[in-house]
């Protein structure tokens, strides 16, 4: 049954292209929306045992290749939410039917790739599915084909291939010690004390690859350019879920199956996490382009997730995974707001904007919710995940890192307040007198995501018990 998460988007692309009529091109995005809603509903309402069932044709086929645990389930949920938002925004920002159709095809293939990443139980298959998402991202980022888009795509390709080299070297070492590439064999081989040095080397190589894919400092060179030069719907996909699924999720999985490679590796994660938090936050302060600021903010928030993984505790893991879900929601919403502002005003430069809250009340209002959540203000979702991370750091006696995480949260609030002041508050900027609120379809994803942020925050105990707490059981 799990194979359907990969096969249905793939079959959708094939069917849509076989029926390549003008009418199909017009409604294709709605197919994508329905598909992602079905994915979200499936994850929320179908029990894990039933989903992982190996009966029936699809259950038997690929049965040994795909598995689902509580971590995969949460990732599938995050992927569904972000791809839903990306397709909705794409539906209303691409003016040309053919371009919109091509965008949908590529985003559905990326969806198949991302679903595959979080369900495979073999490190080589993991790599193959990571490459699907990478190649789809190369094309999606370069959609505008202007100098900046092509330059950032090229930068991403070069760094992504470098990450691939690290990951392949790591896979080679894992295969050398375990004779196989399945997670179970690698886990067994890692328990052998005779392999400990090779395990540390392999984990470190894998971490370098994962950090590059995840945009962690100092491997983040591609991220701000790629996220700011891509169309807004693609920025949502990249910042909302691609960097997490291709960078952070594999890192969590490898750390979990190998036992993390010991204290030195955990110290590297803590240090790189803290560095990313600080560098991302400080770089955000100096930006004038809204999307570029959001991209640097993603670097900072990835730092929070990595620092939590570095604690090596069950609480740290819970905090990291909860922050992945929250960041997927509120960062997608912030990019959706940026898309609405760009569509209505024609610019993303904050110096040219101002006073938009009166003209675009829904966009302005929802962006305040996301801003407060990302800055860790209670009772919104972001507060709880940051609280878990800071408590995990404190419990692990990492007091300096806990202090850095708190201070950086204040800096996050500072740069988002600056964004709000420059874009939505103050006097209305010249030339924006005739600006109106964006179309309902464009503000709807932001409204849904803002509502989710509020609901997750208010019903935190329920979400924590149902979705986050079971993840601790994957710890070995």
């Amino acid at each position: 049954m799990l194979a359907l998460f990969v096969l249905i988007p793939l079959a959708g692309v094939l069917i849509l292209n076989l029926l390549r009529f003008d009418f199909i091109k017009k409604i294709a995005c709605w197919f994508g929306v329905l598909l992602t809603l079905a994915q979200i509903g499936f994850v929320l309402f179908v029990p894990l045992d039933l989903m992982a069932s190996q009966s029936g044709f699809f259950g038997r086929y690929f049965a040994s290749n795909f598995t689902m645990d509580s971590l995969s389930k949460l990732m599938i949920l995050a992927i569904g939410i972000v791809v839903f938002a990306a397709i909705m925004i794409g539906q209303f920002t691409y003016s040309d039917d053919t371009k919109r159709f091509n965008f949908l095809n590529l985003i559905l293939l990326a969806l198949a790739g991302m679903n595959g990443i979080v369900m495979v139980s073999d490190i080589f298959s993991l790599y193959v599915f990571i490459e699907i998402v990478a190649v789809a991202s190369f094309v999606l980022i370069s959609t505008y084909k202007d100098k900046l888009a092509l330059e950032s795509t090229f930068k991403y390709i070069v760094l992504s291939i470098t990450a691939t080299v690290f990951i392949l070297l790591s896979i080679a070492i894992f295969m050398l010690i375990s004779g196989n590439t399945s997670f179970a064999s690698i886990g067994d081989a890692a328990k052998n004390p005779g392999n400990s040095t090779l395990v540390v080397i392999a984990v470190c190589l894998f971490i370098c690859g994962a950090f590059t894919k995840g945009g962690l400092v100092p491997f983040h060179g591609w991220l701000p350019d790629a996220h700011s030069s891509a169309p807004s719907s693609i920025s949502i996909l990249l910042s909302g879920v691609v960097i997490k699924v291709t960078g952070i999720y594999p890192l969590i999985r490898i750390m979990n199956i190998t036992g993390g490679g010991g204290e030195p590796v955990k110290n590297i994660l803590l240090f790189i996490g803290a560095l990313s938090i600080v560098v991302g936050a400080l770089a955000s302060l100096g930006q004038n382009d809204i999307k570029r600021m959001l991209a640097f903010s993603s670097v900072s928030q990835m730092g929070y997730i990595v620092i939590a993984i570095g604690t090596g505790s069950a609480l740290g893991l819970a905090g990291a995974v909860f922050h992945i879900l929250n960041h997927a929601i509120f960062k997608s919403q912030l990019f959706a707001n940026a898309a609405a502002v760009e569509k209505q005003t024609g610019t993303r430069e904050m110096d040219k904007l101002g006073g938009l809250a009166l003209k675009m009340p829904v966009t302005g209002g929802t962006s305040i919710v996301a801003m407060l959540s990302i800055s860790g203000i209670p009772p919104l979702a972001g507060f709880w995940s940051k609280l878990l991370i800071i408590v995990a750091l404190w419990q692990g006696a990492h007091y300096t890192y806990a202090f850095i995480a708190v201070v950086a949260s204040v800096i996050t609030l500072a740069y988002f307040l600056m964004l709000q002041r420059k874009v939505f508050f103050g006097k209305l900027a010249q030339g924006l007198e005739n600006v109106k609120e964006a179309k309902f379809g464009l503000v709807l994803p932001a409204l849904i995501l803002a509502l989710l942020t509020i609901l997750i925050g208010i019903f935190f105990p329920l979400v924590y018990n149902k979705l986050i707490l079971p993840i601790q059981s994957i710890l070995k």
């Binding site: 990969v6 793939l10 692309v13 086929y61 690929f62 290749n65 795909f66 091509n102 095809n105 590529l106 293939l109 990326a110 198949a112 790739g113 595959g116 495979v120 073999d122 080589f124 298959s125 193959v128 599915f129 490459e131 699907i132 990478a134 190649v135 789809a136 190369f138 094309v139 370069s142 959609t143 084909k145 092509l150 795509t153 090229f154 390709i157 291939i161 392949l168 295969m175």
Partner: protein, 162 residues
């Protein structure tokens, strides 16, 4: 033995084509052929897992990534091609000679060594490894090829329109 020799010859010719070719696309395709030959050689040496990985990564994924990247690069003008080809041949003329000398020297050095073959009992059926044990990789690679095709269609079609 003759088959292996033929594979080695094709491998060397394809590898030299990678270096001498003045067109990036031809270089990428030649590299894929080199990988396919390495795959076949690994399979003949009873290492189907290594062969499948070589086929998956080098002949499959890397080629798609190369061709996608090449689609971003402006092609060389026809009139410049000849000049580039001449320069390339001049630069790498010594390469085949070095390759032959290295081959002869290594045939003396490596001869006394015994290559370790996989232990008995390990899966050696290439088809079984490819279609049963690594079926999800094949699915993944099919999707990558599809993404590559879409990428090239999107980038080239729009470029031609402009």
């Amino acid at each position: 033995m003759n088959l292996i020799l033929a594979m080695l010859v094709i491998l060397i010719v394809a590898a030299l084509m990678v270096v001498f070719s003045s067109r990036l696309l031809m270089g990428a395709i030649s590299l894929a052929v080199t990988s396919i030959m390495v795959t076949l050689l690994m399979f003949k040496l009873n290492s189907p897992f290594a062969a499948v990985f070589e086929l998956s990564i080098c002949a499959g994924l890397i080629t798609v990534i190369f061709i996608t990247t090449i689609s971003f690069v402006k092609p060389v003008a026809e009139e410049d091609l000849l000049e580039i080809r001449k320069r390339r041949i001049k630069k790498y003329m010594a390469l085949p000679v070095i390759l032959i000398i290295a081959g002869v020297v290594m045939s003396f050095v490596i001869k006394p060594m015994i290559l370790a073959l996989p232990a008995t009992g390990q899966e050696t059926n290439f088809a079984n490894v490819l279609w049963n044990l690594r079926q999800v990789d094949i699915l993944g690679q099919a999707i990558i090829l599809l993404v590559g095709v879409f990428g090239i269609v999107v980038l080239f079609k729009e470029g031609q329109k402009k």
